[in-house]
Symmetry: none
Subunit: 371 residues, 2 copies
């Protein structure tokens, strides 16, 4: 019952040829950082479906009613999703992609199994297939669900990189990409498309940049012709692909072998501010960057507080941290004292946050921090 063949072409990843659920069961628990899954959409493929007990579901029978079809599909999805959840690390996450035929069943299963949805994301297709019969709207999008393993999972999200790459605006939940065509589309020997639903590499590029770190392991249980593996290799992520069809797996293997990984430096993502070393206000004082007795002001000089030697601020009979006192004088529940309080230099007010860069310099904490 083992996989018929295991291919290992490079250290970047491996392709397991075999049944999705059977292969998943062999993978160790809590070993994977991210899963990308592009499961079968069409219920006509019910003959390919497996029950949770790993027996094969009989092919579509006209006497089955719709509920039976949906139930079989649901069982199959809950089975592989359960295994996927097992192999994910506690802070791991999953992406699934689908259309209206299957995405609602996938989404409900994801919620029922305890995953915690972060976003649903819409892939808007530039060049979708038109609706030939004029009976519906042009089906111009697919839906992706991004979910953490648990409600508590602290999933990877490279917010800063996405924002910087989007002209300094937050990345939205609707993404515009062309479908996979042209030279990127894999062809078989007869010049026909090698796989019916090959996904564009641009889509996986954004997904992996958004939700993985270099060196992470990405698992794709429906590997097909290996788009996930190709992009993972290029971006310095490890991959595990599971594919039942040997022809697809072979095509994927050859495709990925041709991929040239990017240089280490080219795949660096922007660090979040939180990942930088913390400089408490007291340290600014200890380093002598600011002196006790110095006056600090609100943004429009509406208050004038005094720095105390213990690293607190004093104003109007109240003594507290820069954050607490900022909250108190504004009558708010919370406050970032670094941006609220200002010091005077050459007649102008500057936020005390500016002093932290000087502290970092003195502490030898340059701006180049690589993990």
């Amino acid at each position: 019952m083992g996989s018929r063949r295991v291919k290992v072409r490079s250290q970047s990843g491996k392709i397991l040829v075999g049944d999705c659920i059977a292969e998943l069961k062999k993978l160790p628990t809590a070993s994977v950082d991210l899963v990308f899954a592009d499961p079968p959409y069409n219920l006509q493929l019910a003959g390919d479906l497996m029950r949770p007990n790993n027996t094969k579901v009989d092919g579509v029978d006209d006497q089955w009613d719709k509920f039976d079809d949906f139930a079989a599909y649901d069982s199959f999805c809950r089975a592989w999703l359960t295994e996927v959840r097992r192999v994910l690390k506690p802070d791991g996450a999953i992406w699934v992609i689908g259309s209206y035929h299957n995405i609602f069943r996938l989404g409900a299963a994801i919620q029922d199994l305890g995953f915690w949805i972060q976003n649903d994301v819409i892939w808007r297709k530039v060049n979708p297939m038109p609706n030939f019969r004029g009976k519906r709207f042009t089906n111009a999008h697919e839906t992706m669900i991004w979910a953490g393993r648990d409600r508590k999972s602290r999933v990877t999200f490279n917010y800063e990189s996405l924002k910087a790459s989007n002209d300094d605006l937050q990345m939205r939940s609707d993404w515009l990409f062309p479908i996979c065509s042209g030279p990127e589309r894999l062809k078989d020997d007869g010049g026909r498309k090698a796989h019916p639903t090959q996904k564009p590499e641009a889509l996986l590029h954004r997904i992996l940049i958004a939700s993985t770190k270099p060196g992470d392991t990405v698992l794709d249980p429906f590997f097909g012709t290996g788009t996930t593996g190709a992009v993972a290799k290029r971006l310095g992520r490890k991959f595990i692909g599971i594919e039942r069809d040997l022809d697809y797996a072979t095509a994927a293997d050859e495709r990925i072998a041709k991929v040239q990984p990017l240089e280490t430096e080219a795949i660096e993502t922007l660090p979040s501010k939180r990942s930088e070393p913390r400089i408490p206000f007291g340290q600014i004082l200890e380093l002598g960057i600011i002196k006790p007795g110095r006056k600090l002001f609100g943004p429009r000089r509406e208050v004038r507080a005094e720095v105390r030697a213990d690293g607190t601020l004093f104003y109007d009979g109240q003594q507290a941290s820069i954050h607490r006192l900022g909250a108190i004088v504004q009558g708010k529940a919370a406050c970032n004292g670094w941006t609220y309080w200002h010091f005077e230099a050459e007649g102008k007010l500057k936020p005390i946050d500016d002093l932290r860069s000087e502290a970092k310099r003195q502490l030898g904490l340059g701006s180049r921090i690589s993990i």
Copy 2:
């Protein structure tokens, strides 16, 4: 246990004040052409969410959105969907709207109960609320499901009207509309929003134009402040609204009374706007038009920066967006990275702005895009 009050203001429709399921049970079988349902989303919000300026987001904390668990939400939805299906005519259809919190459960229930999905349609919001903590993608869309009562239902679809209103291109499944704000947004006596989730009339306009005929009866089991009724009256459709909250129902009644129905001949389509999405730098990268590791130069080669895989630029220990880094190296407050940074081709420097035309070609933005 009847409705507390039935309001009839005109021949165009009526508002039933009472419990959704109880009122549905009183309606005759096979009497309605279209249902539009905007049910509670079951948002499951935990604590307060603060904006960066430490003010509180006015979230949906109403009792009507609270359910014990998914099972309670599911049984509620299956109950009203069952009644809705009963009152629909054989060729009738339903639209439901939701977010990732509830739409997968709604979609699965719709399929299980025997409805037949025609499309899922994405409402892309021009002006969504940002993600204040920088932990997810901006939640910039909601999902609608359009389904016929049965697989066999021959549902109304005004294909020609939609195509004509879309510059003679088929209407796509992704629609761009602003959220409901400004004068359209109903206010209570205190000047606060009368309803937390009022939908824009433009959305209902397109739905009713797409999937009803003049004189059809439209039922909205979660009427709220009556957007469905207002648009139905304007477009010469009859409406039945069910609303449990008397304040909402009263506001809806007064709102609809002010609506002037259009002349019979005018009940056709409105012209659509075109939208030309921005092309951010990251997308140039994702599309493979420029590769990570590529060198970019200032206009006179005074700096040489490197493209990173995450869509940022790197120079002299600094990594930032094309705009931010351009500003930094010039010592300016701001910079248009598209015109500052250049790539080398055939020994000559060209601004990276030139690459956007290729991206636009790939993204089909030379042609017309559905709104």
